[in-house]
Point group: C2
Chain length 580, copies 2
């Protein structure tokens, strides 16, 4: 009853196939990365016919586990040229899992210039010419909803994906049918665009929760996990009240809030883009606080921020979005950033790589520093396909290159997010070494470095950072495979019963006898698979470094450099035998 949906864009065939034995027991990131590693030629052109785009819900998708309906998206990345897994909230992950579809594999390409949409329903799938090509995500989804109804969920690309820009994202609709939950990083939207696939419509009708080997045991374990989430102050309250934007003031205090393209670690206007202010004006304007993006969410880190007249403006921008357009680009205006956030969602681009690109363009003289109107114009330029818009829409590395910028905050072509590696050194280790390129979620050392979650490691010292990042990268690979929202990790790190509860859910669902150690082994195996793909794609340990300005220049106010050496960084994946 569980199957892969294999879609060939050239022949327009959609085949529901038995799951090959070698993929049994894999979900989410473990499944996308394994399929990509086995089926995609590592040196292929990412926007060409040999790349594949894989969507996979996690192992606990469509169960009663809280926060388990994330959708992993995998491919060879046109941004990093390495393997990519980018995951999103919203409804499609749960819907696919309810239909028993454990992976949708998009292969080959349609004729250039043609656009198709994929209809997926119980036991059936087909490609039809797309009605919504040329539209951005909000209009596209509105049109699709009119045709397919409100019970479906939608996976779409905006014009950035159609243009195959390397910071293009893939949008998933949330519970209110807004395309605001994105697989943002690595240009997965460009891969979808290259295939000629504009939209996927997932009709969950007739689907059901996944079968459980031991229903009672599952229910009990699920309750224990819910209890852990309800107990932890961050997952129960912090994120719901302020969103991830709560971090603005925290990172400012820590001196790790990269400002003006990573020249200083504090932003004097930090309060004007803070989570506290976001909460306040949301309430003042009658918006929504504590909004969950997908079914089963207990954490509810999002919200809806109306404009000054009370009209829908955007979802709550994430901390990284606020930071990229805010401190990094010198813009201390929450409403302006909220509008950029909406445009990123609409046009379909990664808020991080595009927001960071704005600040980098400023450093190169392409956009005046701190000019909110110029940034707005550049955002519209992405949708219009202007040269400047396309540059920015290709992300930070391309923008840095085009504007001749020396200090480009990117690793493996992907921009660094919102934590300066000189002041949050564990995060720097993750940026340098993750096979995904610079990615805060790949091993979120902010936990122990800043939030005292999962222990405490001094963020300014090098000691302990390698181990911290290693352990988090391994754990995250597993979390991303289970389909859990990464924010559950706060509970997993701090509440002793949380991880056992997750393991017990997996065992109860599948009839396994996993232990906590097996979760570590799974995470290592996923990373090994990803690293092996990267090696075959030509990405070696030489790429596991930060740009040299982080080791050359001291970051105020702590005046620290990133002093973890390349040789030390090479020890992160100490179980991987380097051969090539």
């Amino acid at each position: 009853m569980f199957r892969f949906l294999r879609v060939n864009m050239a022949t327009k065939t959609c085949v529901l196939e038995e799951i090959p034995q070698e993929y049994a027991g894999l979900g989410g990131r473990a499944l996308t990365s394994t399929i990509v590693a086995r089926e995609v030629p590592p040196t292929c052109t990412p926007i060409g016919p040999h790349n594949k785009l894989v969507f996979a819900p996690g192992l606990l998708g469509a169960t009663n586990s809280p926060n388990a309906n994330r959708l992993s998206v995998g491919c060879k990345s046109p941004l990093t040229e390495g393997i990519k897994e980018s995951n999103a909230g919203g409804q499609p992950g749960g819907h696919l899992a309810r239909l028993g579809i454990l992976a949708v594999i998009i292969e080959n390409m349609a004729e250039e210039g043609q656009w198709w949409q994929l209809e997926v329903s119980k036991d059936h799938a087909r490609l039809v010419p797309s009605d919504v090509a040329g539209l951005n995500n909000f209009d596209a989804v509105a049109n699709l909803v009119e045709k397919y109804g409100k019970d479906c969920s939608y996976i779409t690309i905006g014009r950035a994906g159609e243009f195959k820009l390397t910071a293009a994202s893939i949008a998933c609709t949330d519970r209110e049918l807004r395309p605001m939950r994105h697989a943002g990083r690595g240009g997965v939207g460009a891969v979808m665009g290259s295939k000629g696939l504009k939209a996927i419509i997932v009709n969950p009708e007739g689907g059901k929760n996944q079968p459980l080997n031991d229903e009672k045991a599952f229910r009990e374990a699920s309750k224990r996990f819910a209890k852990a989430l309800a107990e932890h102050p961050i997952t129960s309250k912090g994120l719901a009240d302020y969103g991830t934007a709560v971090l603005i003031n925290i990172l400012h205090e820590a001196g790790g809030l990269p400002t003006a393209n990573f020249t200083v670690g504090q932003f004097d206007q930090h309060e004007s883009v803070s989570g506290e202010l976001l909460n306040q004006i949301t309430k003042e304007r009658g918006g929504t606080v504590a909004h969950g993006c997908m079914s089963g969410c207990m954490i509810r880190c999002s919200g809806i921020l109306p404009d000054k007249k009370g009209k829908f403006q955007s979802k709550w921008p994430e901390y990284e979005t606020l930071w990229a357009f805010g401190p990094h680009s010198g813009i201390g205006d929450l409403d302006a950033i909220s509008q950029y956030d909406y445009l990123c969602d609409d046009i379909g681009v990664d808020t991080i790589d595009v927001g960071v690109a704005m600040g980098v363009a400023m450093a190169g003289g392409g956009i005046p520093y701190g000019d909110a109107k110029a940034v707005l114009d550049a955002m519209h330029g992405i949708s219009e396909g202007t040269p400047l818009g396309r540059i920015i829409g290709c992300g930070t590395a391309t923008t840095g290159r085009v504007f001749g910028v020396r200090r480009v905050p990117a690793v493996k072509g992907q921009s660094l997010p919102a934590y300066d590696p000189r002041a949050v050194k564990g995060q720097g280790v993750t940026y340098a070494t993750s096979p995904m390129g610079a990615d805060h979620t790949a091993g979120y050392a902010v936990t122990a470095n800043i939030l005292s979650s999962g222990g405490t490691v001094d963020p300014l010292k090098k000691e302990g950072q390698i181990e911290l990042s290693r352990n988090l990268q391994v754990a995250t690979a597993s979390v991303d495979s289970v389909g859990l929202c990464l924010f559950t990790a706060f509970a997993i790190l701090d509440v002793p019963d949380a991880l056992p509860a997750v393991v017990d859910m997996l065992n109860a669902k599948f009839g396994w006898q996993l232990t906590g150690d097996d979760v570590v082994t799974l995470g290592q195996r996923i990373l090994s698979t990803e690293i092996d793909f990267n090696r075959r794609a030509g990405i070696t340990l030489a790429a596991d470094v930060l740009p040299d300005f982080f080791t050359d220049e001291k970051l105020p106010p702590h005046n620290t450099t990133f002093d973890i050496t390349h040789d030390e960084l090479k020890t992160v994946f100490n179980w991987v035998e380097e051969k090539n």
Copy 2:
């Protein structure tokens, strides 16, 4: 008496230093690549303070050898992120050699926004603030000539280099003080720009030819080499009459003239951009045929093409320039291309990477196909620093990325020149494997594939191409180290006494006892050094491939694909032990 000039742009110190023992006996490419490999951290930012820019004349510079005054320019390339040697004709190579300066090593960076010029004369060098920043090459040189006189030679960057665009070149003045001989490939101009170095003024006063261990033996060997050049039809006449543009009709006939971004191997307007027409209109307009770019040139492959009114328009465009702006971009207008060529020289960009970028932008809808006026505007845009101009000025790979083009003809980030690898397969091997990125000069298999020079290897078959490319890459590395113009290779390949004459010149100059085998060993050693740098920079054998469309798509009229496998390509450098 032979020394290195080491210039620190941060401290403004210029030191003439003894040549360290490990660099003894090296010149040209052997010297630049060895210095870069030893002194530049391979993972550094190419436009940052840790990169170095090295200028080195060849081993036979400033002797009476014909065609031996090329100047090698080496650094870590901002275009390929690997090692780069790009060499140029013109006068500065011979002048530096006459001053006994075997390498100029530019280190560190000036304060951002400051521009300096380096004055080099006998036993003295200093940095002074530059008068000519902001000017393109022709105006810059004209101003410098006014200040420093007509006896000096000049090395400059145009605005592209100031902008640090990754296709920026470095210009050397020819005998008539025109900045038209460029180290074009790999973005060496961006490195010079990143250092804050606008110009180098080389005053040869008081310099002299290099001393010879055995003057008589040298004179005799030099005469034999001159005789060989005078005997070969290509070096004595073919290039002088038609320039390298002679290849347009030849490659058209061979079906290997890449047209409309490598979709077909013939261009219906080939005659309107041919060497024959170039010769004809040059004569009609009273221009110059058979112009040598540097002292000691016997081949005289260049010319001066006036415009329709008889006024200087540009030098003869090279075949690759004619091809990139012509067949590749659908423009059959010799005068238009001559104007682009002038602008490339003036603004300081590689005609190949920029010309190919034009055709790639056309493939992506950024410029209308075949629109000569739009290309002219885009050329001016480079100088003006418009977003489109900067994109194009960053070359083919960046242009392909920004415009979402799937079929991007580039290897290791550097664009393929004017020979389709499916119809000139030996050339394809060189493109795929050269440590320089796609570079026709690195192993010019057109010789045996098309011109029956150095034997004959069927261009459409895979047999013999690996060995052909290997031997040529090895020989070329040596030729580039001797300071010889690559076109001497026709004589070296076909006239039995040519190579012995070169070896005898080296022996007579240095008191060595080299044999022909030693030349092979030298070439292999240089390539090994370059490959080792690339491995440490993170460029592996995985990067030794052509873009997959060359293996997927048949090229009319022969309807061949590039069928030399990646495993076969990995055997090119069969003496290199792969370790990392």
